[in-house]
């Protein structure tokens, strides 16, 4: 087959000349350099993400301040490519990630079941870098929801102003700001088969074949925006257009929506899929590897959703528990030295969970009861429960009626420590644990008893790593 005669063969070069590519704000991106972004095999494993879960939102609904934040982030990323061309977080390097994985990599990420998962990982690290560059861990990419009939134009943030003063602009687009995507590429006749794909093979492909949406709407939108000669139309240059990331955020949303559509819409469980692994630079320039199994639940694993949350942040997301072990003597109050106290107070101030661990507390085990534990005997005497600043929690004892005995020793008890015990932490008298049986009616039962234990220490949750 001979080389085609293309009607727009010179249009890209001519256009770049006409707009003066390489203008001050937007660095010139020369022919794609598709070298591998890192040294294979040297990546550190990606670790859990405990940022707050935040929504990716339709680009067309962003408020002015949000658009400005988006532009600031991409400007910072573009500027980084100029100020430090070797920084892998710069825009040129970010664009070339797609170039490498989609044009050169021996294991292509298009045309098979890697497509959705790889792009999710790519956007995740890209998004974290953008957030880091504007010092906002809550930054999330917007998505271009072109399947909505009123959102067929490119979102205005990406076209206004439609010149190189806009960090979201790309001068090679064939689609003008007033153009709509062709109806037949993205309308409901296209989308319904996507959402109703019966299984992942149909939706997301197999190890050897692509799913339906990869060709259309995904591929069609690429070509519609880039035209014959624009960056969006080619694998090696698509990442140079910031709208690529909004387009792919929508593709990612479609995957998320498909998952939610029916109980049968499950992702592959084959080890061959789950163990797919790719590497990217993170926001701290650390080369990280991430597996497909680590990103299948974008909400709990990658900390973003698309507005309709299935998971509420009622449980803290903890990376590690840090142990704080003040000196402890069996028969003395817990005196928390300043160095330990500062650690605990810092964690409390940052609203991290703080816990007190009581190993083998000496409590009556001969009957079923609930004991309220206080960090101050006087507060135990008043016994105001959760209203007390020294209230730590309860230790329930449930007698095993069949065997007439309890487990021989109450094992470790873990109580949450609230911000209200800060005064006690500062007390030079120390924390004297005491307990009182809740709602007791037994005559002669001691109201308050000091609580001894084999060991008492604290821990707090680490929720962020730098």
């Amino acid at each position: 087959m001979s080389q085609a005669k293309f009607p727009f063969a010179n249009s890209r070069r001519t256009f770049l000349q006409s707009v003066g590519a390489g203008a001050l704000l937007i660095p010139s991106v020369s022919h794609a350099v598709c070298e591998p972004p890192g040294t294979p095999g040297s990546a550190r494993p990606w670790r859990a993400d405990c940022r707050p879960i935040r929504a990716r939102r339709p680009a067309s609904t962003l408020a002015a301040a949000e658009i400005q934040k988006l532009k600031d982030a991409y400007k910072a990323m573009r500027d980084l490519s100029v100020s430090d061309p070797a920084d892998p977080r710069g825009f040129t390097h970010q664009a070339n990630i797609h170039c490498w994985f989609c044009s050169v990599s021996p294991t292509p990420v298009h045309g098979n079941w890697q497509f959705f998962a790889w792009h999710r990982a790519y956007l995740y690290f890209h998004e974290r870098i953008l957030g880091k560059l504007i010092n906002d861990s809550e930054f999330r990419l917007p998505y271009w929801d072109w399947e909505i009939s009123t959102h067929r134009k490119m979102p205005s943030a990406y076209t206004s102003p439609n010149n190189n003063t806009n960090p979201l602009w790309n001068g090679t687009r064939a689609m003008s700001p007033s153009d709509d995507l062709p109806e037949e590429d993205v309308n409901e006749d296209v989308m319904e088969p996507v959402y109703s794909a019966a299984n992942f093979s149909e939706f997301g492909g197999t190890g050897a074949f692509p799913g339906i949406p990869e060709g259309s709407p995904h591929g069609s939108v690429h070509v519609d925006v880039g035209g014959f000669a624009g960056d969006m139309g080619a694998f090696d240059t698509a990442g140079r257009d910031p709208i690529f990331y909004a387009h792919h955020a929508n593709v990612d949303k479609i995957w998320s929506d498909w998952n939610k559509g029916a109980s049968s819409h499950e992702n592959p469980t084959d080890a061959a899929f789950l163990n797919l692994s790719w590497s990217f630079y993170d926001e701290n320039r650390i080369w990280r590897s991430i597996k497909a199994s680590q990103l299948l639940n974008h909400e709990t694993q990658l900390r973003y959703n698309y507005g309709l949350s299935r998971f509420r942040e009622i449980l803290p997301c903890i990376l590690d528990w840090i142990i704080v072990r003040p000196p402890w003597r069996f028969d003395r109050p817990v005196v928390v030295e300043p160095r330990f106290r500062d650690q605990i107070m810092k964690a409390l101030d940052e609203r991290r969970p703080v816990r007190m661990h009581i190993n083998y507390p000496q409590i009556p085990l001969d009957r079923s009861a609930v004991y309220r534990v206080y960090a101050d005997p006087k507060e135990a005497e008043a016994d105001n429960g959760t209203k007390s600043p020294a209230f730590l929690g309860v230790i329930p004892v449930v007698l095993n009626t069949r065997e007439k005995h309890h487990p021989p020793k109450a094992p470790q008890v873990v109580l949450n420590v609230g911000r209200r015990i800060s005064d006690l932490l500062h007390s030079t008298d120390g924390i004297q644990l005491a307990f009182v049986e809740r709602f007791t009616t037994r005559k002669g039962a001691p109201k308050v008893q000091l609580l001894n234990a084999k060991e008492v220490y604290f821990s707090y949750g680490e929720t962020m790593r730098e």
Partner: protein
């Protein structure tokens, strides 16, 4: 039925396929047009749009976008199978043509809204694949 697109003169490099409708067609969950052995320039970014040809009119069926490898790439890329889901439009058309035993499908290359009449490309054959629940 989808919008008719007048096309007095089909684009010169469009490809037409006359495909028999299988007996179980009407009960299918999905209908996919499979273009086999498609050859495109590696440097071409193309949307192949499938249209149902009724005389000189064309009815949009679906499309598939194929990205260029690179604008600077040389040679031809061969795609063993490109699949376009044409379920909705074709089933609607079928309701209006209950006795039709075959369908004429025209595939036209575009780049966005621009037709590519000079693009050299080929597809060895086409077929319809039916999906059932």
């Amino acid at each position: 039925m989808g919008s008719n697109v007048a096309s007095a003169h089909p684009q010169a490099n469009s490809k037409e396929f006359v495909l028999a409708l299988p007996p179980e067609f009407a009960a299918a969950h999905s209908v996919v047009l499979v273009l086999n052995d498609v050859r495109l320039p590696k440097s071409a970014a193309v949307v192949l749009r499938a249209r149902l040809a009724e005389g000189e009119a064309e009815i949009p069926l679906g499309s598939i976008g194929v990205l260029a490898e690179s604008k600077d790439a040389q040679g031809t890329a061969t795609h063993a199978a490109l699949r376009i889901d044409i379920t909705k439009t074709l089933l609607r058309w079928r309701q209006e043509h209950p006795y039709a035993s075959a369908v004429r499908i025209r595939v036209v290359p575009y780049a966005g809204k621009e037709a590519l009449p000079d693009l050299e490309w080929s597809a060895a054959s086409a077929s319809l694949t039916l999906g059932t629940r």
